[in-house]
Point group: C2
Chain length 156, copies 2
DNA sequence: GCGAATGTTCAGAAATTTCTGAAGACAGGG
DNA sequence: CCCTGTCTTCAGAAATTTCTGAACATTCGC
């Protein structure tokens, strides 16, 4: 049977793997709740109920996930609460976001390249810099290609 | 002044950004030590000195970084200690490694796709699955292309 | 403006992660 | 075999992260 329980379990399971990938617990749980919900949007109260946590925790989690660009606030007429929903391009956004992390690493590596004299360390650092620079350059094209392919594929 | 101090500071700085990217502290510090060293190899003792931590911590850190495939044990004649050095393809390896994480996420997502009936949640989960599947497929080609480009470039 | 509903912040509690130090395991030389 | 130097394991200490609950802020309808 494909009940609410199975859905929740699947959501929690996904949240766990996201935590394993480095995401914070509550943010991951909130994100999974959005992913698995069939409602158009969720309020903070919905999330608190669904996840069984305090309003404070929800506030923090929503803030984080919103900052990652994965969900957005929407205005719902006649409702005083704030509604959130997943953004359409959440996953490509998330992928692109990782680049800010890589950027920071590159800055540190570049600094290293400048500090060490020529030698094995220099070679290693330069290689690392080149590889990550390459990835950074290529990533947008990858995303572009995915979207292209998706457009083509959905009209067979 | 390109002294030892500047080198260490640069190494610690890189370690910090790696921690920011989700790596564990001691593992990141050990990795940075390898990156920035001009020695052919480092022993656990070298690392303990360099990082100012206990043998136990070094043991754990080395184990982790080795498991990630970034360093390897090497045999040094006449030395009873275990020597480690960075692997040549450390960065491309690390990049590929992230796929195991993505794989786990995909398993959870696939499970979700099967559990939810058709509806918004299904659409979202299917999209996520497709995107990450695409990335997983494309990644090896990216690495390949980088290596190709590097070979060509280094013979101008 | 007032009141009610909702959202945010923050100090401290709780849980988790990380590090250490000491004990034990292991390998090689004598 | 034992001894020495080296590495690993692990229980507990220390540090860090995460969650809560209550006080405060904000918004909207009236």
């Amino acid at each position: 049977m494909t009940g609410e329980t199975a859905r929740r379990e699947a959501a929690e399971q996904l949240a766990l793997t996201l935590v394993g990938a480095g995401m914070q617990r509550m943010g991951a749980r909130a994100l999974a709740a959005f992913l698995f919900s069939d409602k158009e949007s969720l309020t903070a109260g919905d999330l608190a109920d669904e996840l069984g946590v305090s309003a404070g925790s929800v506030s923090g989690a929503v803030k984080m996930v919103a900052q990652m660009g994965l969900i957005e606030r929407i205005y719902v007429a006649g409702s005083r609460r704030e509604h959130f929903r997943m953004r359409d391009n959440a996953w490509t956004t998330l992928y692109s976001r990782q680049h800010t992390v890589v950027d920071e690493i590159l800055v540190a590596v570049q600094n290293g390249v400048e500090v060490v004299g020529s030698g094995p360390a220099f070679e290693r650092l330069a290689y690392m810099r080149d590889f990550y620079t390459f990835l950074l350059d290529e990533a947008p094209m990858l995303v572009e290609r995915f979207e292209q392919q998706r457009r083509d594929g959905s009209r067979p």
